[in-house]
Amino acid sequence: MLSTVLEQVVNGIVTGSVYAIVAVGMTMIFGVLRAINFAHGEYYMLGTFGAWFAIDYLGLSYEASIVVGVLATIVVAYVVGQLVMRRMVGAPAESGVLATLGIALILQNTVIFVFGGGYKFFSGGYIEPISIFGFSLAQQRILILVVCLVVFVGLELMVTYSRLGMAMRAVSQNVECCEVVGIDVPQVVLRTFILGAALAALSGVLTAPVNVSVYGGMGELITFKTLPIIIMGGLGNVRGTFFAAMILGIAESLVATYVGLQFRDTVGFATLILVLMWRPHGLFSTQARF
């Protein structure tokens, strides 16, 4: 009994890591742009499709497919960033919502149009289980956990010490002052956006071997799960996002086991609505950031 609970918690943490890597990009984009990126899950989908294409059509190894998937997403994100995201600086919240919804529709349906809407089999990855402390865990899941930790430590360092990180924090505090002191705000927005999209793609490629199936509509589901996480974590709060993702991952896996698998995907939005009602600034931030 206890071991099943523990196993579910461990599974939840792995799922949470996946969400965390996607969500942190979205929350950083919100930080600099004050807009929710409703298309964020689509970059997760693009990364997965890029890797699937590399393995199935180009015959590359899984390691190489990770690079292909992330690079392909970066190229798409660069184009979208140049054409759309830069224009969203200083635009009202509604136009951000509508523009990113539009991008989500375009990306998702272009992929479905090109590759078909059916489920595809993702064949790469390290799926051999190994046992640690009596648990058997697929290697891929351990890889996800490790990558998640590396990403978060790296982001924490980057946001604190690097030039881009400092510029990001500055933009998220006051756009006008940034312009006064000569920070190129659209450039910071573009870079943050590409970084976020690349992280989402990385998360997608890493999860693909665990999920096995790849399909055009998968990004939408991830967007819907990421929204509650970034709200729970406090918009723009990197550390809070990490913990919120873990909470949602564990909650989902427990609900899937003890309440019913079909309710797993609603946990997120039920939490979202509850958090918006009681703590609209998130569980971890002390004050509202927007």
Binding site: I36, S95, A99, L101, G102, L105, G260, F269
Partner: protein, 328 residues
Amino acid sequence: MSLTETVPQARRRDLRIPLAVVLIVVALGAPYMGSRYVTHSLIIALIFMLPAHGLNLLVGYTGLLSLAQAAFFGIGAYTAGLLAVTYGTPFYVNLIAAALVSGAAALPLGIPALRLRSTSFVMCTLGFVIIGQAIAKNWVSVTRGDMGLSSIPKPYFELGPLSFTVSGTTNFYYLALAVGVLATLAVWAIVRSPAGRNMVAIRENETLAESLGVPTWHYKLIVFMISAMFAGVGGCLYAHYLTVVSPLTFQMYYSTTMLIIVLGGGAGMISGTVFGSLLFVGLTEALRVAPEVRMIAYGACLLVLVFWFKQGFAPLINRFWNAIGGVK
């Protein structure tokens, strides 16, 4: 030319009434002018016009961007479908029930949601669609889960001893047209009333409206409920026309379609919504555009509307209307 002489102005006739007559004739005669597929497209456009009218009241007049329309559309479709399948009630009963149930559902959802602003409100309303779909899928004893409701009977009317069934595309077109015209008139009445002006005041400046004594909270809640009722009526027509309702009635795609209609046609304009539903739903349906291509086009439309074409077709419609009316 002496100064006393005025330049003879080109006399421009007011063509608005003739145009209105032509439009009415076209609307009434449409099933006999085009193919059956055209009639079908017009019916779909009329069905989507109803939730779009509701959304226009929210987005265009009160300034609340909501994605929840698909949820109320689904609730209306399920209400009408369940009534018709289980009790075989006449159409007008289903229609009123769908409107009331959707409107009633909007009350408990609107009270928490309307406390939120801008993006948070959008996310919350998006949540309603997702949760609605989950309920439709999992409350199997009522909704029959993923199977959905099928073979919903044709709408029929019962007036005392008389009763007749609306069957066939042409007849359904007239039913949808009648409902659509009534709904458009209802929106017109709301917008033209003092309440409509208060809604616009809330859109323009909520704090100022509040300080002038407009009970903004009640207005927003009531408009949210009215817009849900319009969506419910649309859902009722949808259920009767397609004769099938599945949990996929609750989907983001429908909310996006309704947004495209309102914003593309021109938010805050009744003729814009009518025009938008014919253009974006009717035309794409009639051209038999594949769903993926249609959604790509919708996405592109959203981007164009947001950045370059903020008012949609509203200025064009206005200019056309003034031009044929001889107004400079």
